[in-house]
């Protein structure tokens, strides 16, 4: 066997790959499920917090700022580990899947709240005044006048942040989530062959590269023009 053939036989072993393909594919499904849940719940919660914050209720806002700062400061893996290994001591035992989902959703919530909030506050006061002077209520002004402008402004930073946090689904492997990396790792230790890991890596690229490319496109498309 030449060196090259040996390399191929080790890292891209057809027999091993065929055997573990179903595992990797089921991992892909779990990753997609997790990612969709994180993105939806994280962004909805982030927007909701930003809207509540715009009401300007002092003690509530301090609480929001603290929560947001907390989840921006803590490494996502620390939050996941704390939930999965720590909470059982309080008689709550979330599964690895739920721990990963909730942890990353909290992180995305916090980052997106900051971005939504920055977007809302960057709209000039005159827009509020003009809308209120025609009789629109606070809520109507927020929804019809302020948010459409603010959201447009926030789309590029939000896209990048969402992608970066969603990639964190791989962290689930530390708490036994059977997503792509988890499946690939256990396949490697079962087969004594790194080919499943290469498949896993390829799966991540297939999943996330289009998202990154679309993100790049969105970034140029939504660059603010007046």
């Amino acid at each position: 066997m030449s060196k090259w053939e040996k390399f191929l036989d080790t890292f891209f072993n057809a027999r091993v790959m065929e055997k573990y393909l179903p595992d990797i594919l089921s991992g892909v499904l779990v990753t997609i499920e997790l990612a969709v849940l994180i993105v939806i719940s994280g962004l909805v919660a982030g927007l909701a917090l930003a809207l509540v914050r715009s009401l300007g209720l002092r003690p509530l806002n301090w609480l929001i700022i603290f929560v947001v700062d907390l989840f921006r400061s803590l490494p996502p893996l620390v939050i996941i580990v704390l939930m999965y290994f720590g909470l059982p001591a309080a008689d709550v035992s979330p599964s690895g899947f739920v721990s990963t989902w909730i942890s990353l959703a909290l992180v995305l919530m916090s980052f997106s709240e900051e971005i939504f909030w920055a977007g809302i506050t960057s709209i000039p006061k005159g827009q509020w005044e003009a809308a209120r002077s025609t009789g629109l209520s606070f809520g109507q002004t927020l929804i019809n006048v302020i948010l459409p402008q603010a959201l447009r402004l926030t789309i590029p930073p939000l896209t990048n942040r969402t992608i970066a946090i969603t990639k964190g689904t791989a962290l689930g492997t530390v708490v036994a989530v059977t997503e792509i990396l988890g499946q690939a790792s256990s396949a490697v230790s079962n087969s004594y062959n790194p080919s499943p890991l290469m498949m896993g890596a390829a799966a991540y690229i297939v999943l996330f590269l289009p998202v990154v490319v679309i993100g790049r496109w969105i970034e140029t498309k939504f660059a603010w023009k007046r």
Partner: protein, 224 residues
């Protein structure tokens, strides 16, 4: 309530775990001091290459950056740590972390620095070159200082992410903060050490988060 405190804020266990956790903190700091400059170096190389506006450089470069933006850093780390030994290359956790961060965070730093360099008007280079500075000198003394200043919030935000990412070292047995806390937890069967690690992360990173949210607010307002 009593039981919760016993579980999560157990003073006895905290006292016992403190030396272990502090040891981890020291390693996290050392690791950060290694990987942040490494990532910046990788980013600088990419940004300077991006300045060569030839399609043969530009497209592969963009593909490189997008590849690492799409690739989860943990997967990269595991690939190096668990994959390379099959090729007869055992690097150890520390070296794997260093390489993975060089590649991953380098791509992010590279995008930021490239945007910074793009934000400096061409006239600056022309003025510098007209006084006899070489291309490299113009870049070093005129363009880069302005570029860095223009994207300072983004650079700081990425650095925050890099420091947080060092917690991935725990997966490949680098004895940083999270790893040490988990060791202590598995010995004591009590999550207090992990809570301690979380508190330590929060205390050292909170000032940076506060500063950043001020800067980001201003940056977004200026975009209009």
């Amino acid at each position: 309530m009593e039981a919760l405190i016993q579980s999560f804020f157990n003073a006895e266990i905290a006292a016992a775990a403190l030396p272990i956790v502090l040891d981890g903190l020291l390693n996290t700091i050392l690791l950060s001091l290694l990987v942040v400059p490494l990532g910046l170096l990788g980013g600088l190389i990419l940004a300077l290459l991006a300045n060569v506006r030839h399609p043969l450089v530009r497209w592969p470069l963009m593909a490189w950056v997008d590849f690492f933006r799409a690739f989860p850093p943990l997967v990269l780390l595991v690939l190096l740590f668990a994959g390379l030994p099959f090729a007869g290359l055992e690097l150890g956790g520390f070296a794997c972390v260093a390489i993975a961060f060089f590649l991953n965070t380098g791509a992010y730093y590279g995008e930021i620095l490239r945007a910074g360099i793009d934000s400096v008007p061409v006239g600056q280079v022309e003025a510098a070159r007209s006084t006899g500075l070489s291309g490299l000198q113009a870049m070093t003394y005129v363009v880069l200082p302005q570029a860095v200043r223009n994207v300072l919030p983004d650079l700081m935000s990425n650095t925050l992410e890099v420091v947080k990412l060092t917690s991935l070292g725990s997966v490949v047995a680098v004895p940083e903060l999270l790893f040490q806390a988990r060791q202590a937890q598995s010995v004591t069967y009590n999550p207090t050490p992990i809570v301690m690690a979380a508190v330590v992360y929060f205390l050292i990173l909170w000032p940076l988060v506060r500063l950043l949210s001020r800067l980001e607010n201003r940056a977004l307002a200026a975009r209009r």
